[in-house]
Symmetry: C2
Subunit: 262 residues, 2 copies
């Protein structure tokens, strides 16, 4: 088992890892973030567990991206990750995204829990693993990010509704946490991505959704270039007509030239 606190993984923006503008896609960046977390945790004895017929899965509670510069098709980049803090049920995990020269081009802050696959409830981390993150906590590395937003939604009408399908579901048997980000960004006009980049995106996951669920999107501007987007499931269901909130998010865009200049 490694004794290092931080792991770094290297990537290239391969053909079709990018969006229509040539920037690294959220699908690929997000999956790398999830995979880096799993590999870092696994190398330190905090793997997904499969004990006495009970499977335990790492799931995201919150995630915040701050992007200072987006990698483009063909660019090399790296992702470093470490755990800064842990609680009974949660860990705070950070990521730096570095360009080919090692310059910081983005930061990601995440909070994770480990859930029992059957009960879908979080488990006390120390009891589950019999050891703690103490030897691996990295508390010195800078990780300053803007505080989390208070996401409030005044509107009661969804701007769109989509169904969750086979291709949206991941190995945890629920809609993939990164897929929600893609769906949230799909609620903006494509033209916006020609002139603007996402500078900051935060998402708080409240409940899971499954294949066949109906997902409704609520969106409102919160400031110039800032939007709140909320996803609810199964709105109009006779048992729960107002639906259930799957996640809250806040998205900040910046004109491309302004962001690239920073």
């Amino acid at each position: 088992m490694t004794r290092e606190k931080i792991d770094t993984f290297k990537y290239v923006v391969e053909p079709f890892d990018d969006d229509f503008t040539g920037r690294l896609s959220w699908n690929v960046l997000g999956k790398h973030i999830l995979a880096c977390a799993e590999r870092h945790a696994g190398a330190r004895g905090f793997d997904r567990l499969n004990e006495d017929g009970h499977r335990f899965l790492w799931v995201l509670s919150r995630m915040v991206f701050e992007m200072y510069e987006w990698p483009h098709l063909g660019d090399n980049y790296a992702i470093s990750t470490w755990v800064r803090r842990y609680y009974r049920y949660f860990i705070d995990r950070y990521f730096d995204i570095l360009n080919a020269e090692g310059r910081l081009i983005g930061r990601v802050f995440t909070i994770w829990a480990m859930i029992n696959e059957k009960t879908r409830k979080p488990e006390a981390l120390n009891e589950l693993f019999g050891h703690t993150f103490d030897p691996y906590l990295e508390t010195q590395r800078p990780c300053d990010m803007q505080p989390l937003s208070h996401i409030r939604m005044a509107t009661e009408s969804p701007i769109s509704t989509r169904r969750a399908y086979y291709s949206d579901i991941d190995e945890n048997n629920h809609v993939n946490s990164i897929r929600y980000i893609e769906l949230i960004l799909d609620s903006f006009p494509k033209e916006l991505f020609s002139s603007h980049e996402v500078k900051r995106l935060e998402i708080a996951y409240n409940t899971e959704s499954y294949c066949g669920d109906s997902l409704s999107f609520y969106s409102q501007p919160s400031a110039p270039d800032d939007y709140f987007v909320v996803i609810k499931k199964n709105v109009g269901d006779p048992q729960q007509p107002l639906g259930e909130t799957i996640c809250h998010s806040a998205v900040t865009f910046a004109p491309i030239s302004k962001l690239t200049k920073q």
Copy 2:
């Protein structure tokens, strides 16, 4: 420039490269197929072109997958690719998918054209590049696959209709050719993927679709475990009420144990 005829690229099924059953996802396999093609072509001087302000893009005309065994989460696999034949406007490109021991677990046959980004019409390949694929043609390597299906659709009612969004669009500014495969498979019930695997999938691309287009799915069984699926765009448009066919596909499922035994 390389003088080899065949290139081989190595991969691992990373966390979240798999579907909910643990099998390599179509999204990831398909993107690797596209990327292998681009890298193989590029290394031999047949890159995407950008000349006199005209961009030329490789696009798929047809694609057939035959899978004898699916890689699972954590498995190593490799993709080999070569060009067997070329015509004025098209090339025939093959792929072998190999497991960690080098055993053949899948084959892919593709036909590609290079289109002018503005006219969206194919260009004569020799004239465009000033050289031919002759030195690179690999005609000896076995590549036997079942003949292409005659896909006919009797039904006139779509089983579902979805819109194309930002996350469906790739660097060629149209719905990604692999994304259609995901959308086609989304038209089957998720439970089918618990008991069955896709054994063969063929798709013929007729026309492109773009962000905002409405995509309608028509499906009918053609034999036990065999289905034809057709996607049309903008059905009901006053100019063209019957819509325009984007692609035809044929999908063959096999019970998981049967397929894995082969």
